[in-house]
Amino acid sequence: MRVARYLLQRLAFVLPQLVGIVLVSFLLVKSIPGDPAVLMLGPTATPDAIAGLRSQMGLDQPLYWQFLLYLDHLAHGDLGTSWQTTRPVLEDLIQRFPATLELVTYSLILAILVGMALGIASALNPKGWVGRLADVYGLSAGALPDFWFALVLIFVFYTLAHWAPAPLGRLDISVLAPQPVTGFMTIDTLLAGDFEAFRSAVAHLVLPVLTLGLINAGPIMKMTQSSMEKMLTSDASRYEELCGIPQRLVTRHALRNALPSIVTIISVLYGYLIGGAVLVEIVFSWGGAGQYAVQGVLNSDIYPVLGFVLFSAIFSLLVYIIVDLVYVLVDPRISH
């Protein structure tokens, strides 16, 4: 009951926000120069053919009408057609979004492991070498351009050491892709029982996941460090120490109390990475949703861009709602 009311409240805020996002991105991509009809038909098209296609696509209508038309199509699950792939954007995104999601999810897991371990260790010993290392790591991880770091990893592990496969997609060219079920290559290959393909999928994931994971561990580490330090110096922790409770337990209790702010930054990072992984996708020819959107912008193909913005906004909102729900269920202080 409580949860249902909470969800309704959230939706009341979310829907206008989604319409706002669609409106702003619609106006933005509509003002990108380049006529889709001309681009679709090529340089040899007759003016009549172009005019015909324009009216067929609704491009001769006023802008507000085009927007309403787009909203109407959206309501029917139609996200438009990409002129580059000549396929419905929804189909393209259903195929590509899991690729991005798989990459981002594994990267986030790595970032959580590295970030939380370093953060907790440095909070326990801020003046020691771990604390210093963590400080420098936080600053330098934020300073590295991910696309360049990816290139350096490719150079070391592919060009020099030959440990990693060529940065060309999610599988070796010689390996047959499994039947898509979840869209996660690592899961689909296992479902198909194809272990060679599974190995290939994992090998292709290693470098991009290292790139994104190591760079994005920075913010998680900083948040863990600062909230753990605050909890460890709190009266509750001091009292526990005075009572002679072992340090391990004190740390565990402090972590339990620091968890909400850490989970918040992780959820923000998850949403951010969907769009933030674009450059790494491009470097590894990943064929994900972000790369699809960037190709769209660069080639005046507007519907993929709109579709991607919508998908990633909805995904972020879903993550936030789930995280909030978990809080409501877990933390007795928030539920009232």
């Binding site: 706002g20 933005l28 300073a143 590295l144 290139l151 951010y272 933030g276």
Partner: protein
């Protein structure tokens, strides 16, 4: 009483990390100013006879695929990168801070100004819900690819940060007695905001400035990397990395590695400076630092006394 500058200098000595940050920033600014006189070669002219040469004494960082000197290009690049990042950051901070102060001041009560504040905050929500990079490329594509539009894109993407920062500061300051006193004394809203609120709320904004210049450089180079920012052959770190992309895969690392290193070190320097401003502008942390320096001085003096006694 110690002077502010003296304290600053000794704080840097106590935290050598921050001194490194200031040194890096100074070096990058010097490179931006004097590159044309320091660079051994033209940063935009290719010598087709000397392509993809390894770093040597003639070409410190080697040459790229068309035969341009990478060292000359890497030290000329801050002229573009730094200018874009600083302009974008200034634009976003001025507009964002002013809006944030107004929104924070008019966030409680009734009336059109309060509704307007609410609308501004919801607009910022929408702006921040966008995938940053896709939004920036779309903006550059819509307005036409040029240095000015990259500046605008950086300003747009960063504005909500200043808006929120200033708003939260103002929200706590507007409850202070001196703001109330100003109101009772009949001071106008505009004067109160200008004379009493902004000066007391500005410190965290200043710390954010330096960090954001670093981000601005990262965004500029990322846009140029995908071909939506500064166009080659204009020397710019991101476009240089992109030009060397294919070479790296086939084993010639230097066309991409050197510009990337310059870029990373520069951003690192600006983050350090930002961190130092953050620490020095926080009265509590400044006091801890002062105490720490005092203890250190006392220990040194005691040691000298002991030595003199022996």
């Amino acid at each position: 009483m110690m002077s502010a500058l003296g304290f600053f200098g000794r704080a840097l000595l106590a935290r050598p990390r921050f001194a490194v940050g200031y040194a890096i920033v100074a070096l990058v600014v010097l490179a931006a100013l004097f590159a044309p006189w320091v660079a051994p070669y033209s940063p935009v002219e290719a010598n087709p006879n000397e392509f993809l040469e390894l770093p040597s004494r003639a070409h410190l960082f080697g040459t790229d695929a068309v035969g341009m000197d990478i060292f000359s290009r890497a030290i000329t690049a801050p002229r573009i990168d730094l200018t874009i990042a600083i302009l974008g950051t200034l634009l976003s901070s001025v507009v964002g801070t002013a809006l944030g102060a107004l929104v924070g001041f008019y966030s409680v009560g009734r009336g059109p100004k309060v509704w307007l504040s609410f609308a501004v905050m919801r607009a910022a929500d929408v702006l921040q819900a966008f995938p940053v990079f896709v939004f920036a490329i779309a903006l550059v594509a819509a307005l036409g690819q040029s240095i000015e539009t990259v500046v605008l894109a950086i300003a747009f993407v960063n504005m909500p940060i200043y808006l929120r920062l200033m708003r939260s500061q103002v929200l706590s300051i507007r409850a202070m007695r001196y703001v109330e006193a100003a109101k009772v004394a009949g001071v106008s809203d505009a004067t109160t905001i200008r004379r009493h609120i902004i000066p007391n709320a500005i410190a965290p904004v200043l710390a954010q400035l330096s960090i954001n210049v670093g981000w601005g450089i990262l965004l500029t180079s990322a846009l140029s990397f995908v071909g939506a920012g500064v166009r080659a052959p204009t020397p710019e770190w991101g476009s240089m990395i992109s030009m060397g992309f294919q070479n790296v895969v086939t084993g010639q690392w230097w066309p991409s590695v050197f510009p990337g290193l310059s870029l990373a070190i520069t951003v690192f320097g600006f983050s350090l400076v930002g961190a130092s401003i953050e620490m020095l502008s926080d009265p509590a942390r400044r006091q801890t630092l002062a105490q720490e320096m005092e203890r250190r001085n006392a220990r040194a003096a005691a040691r000298q006394l002991v030595k003199a006694g022996i």
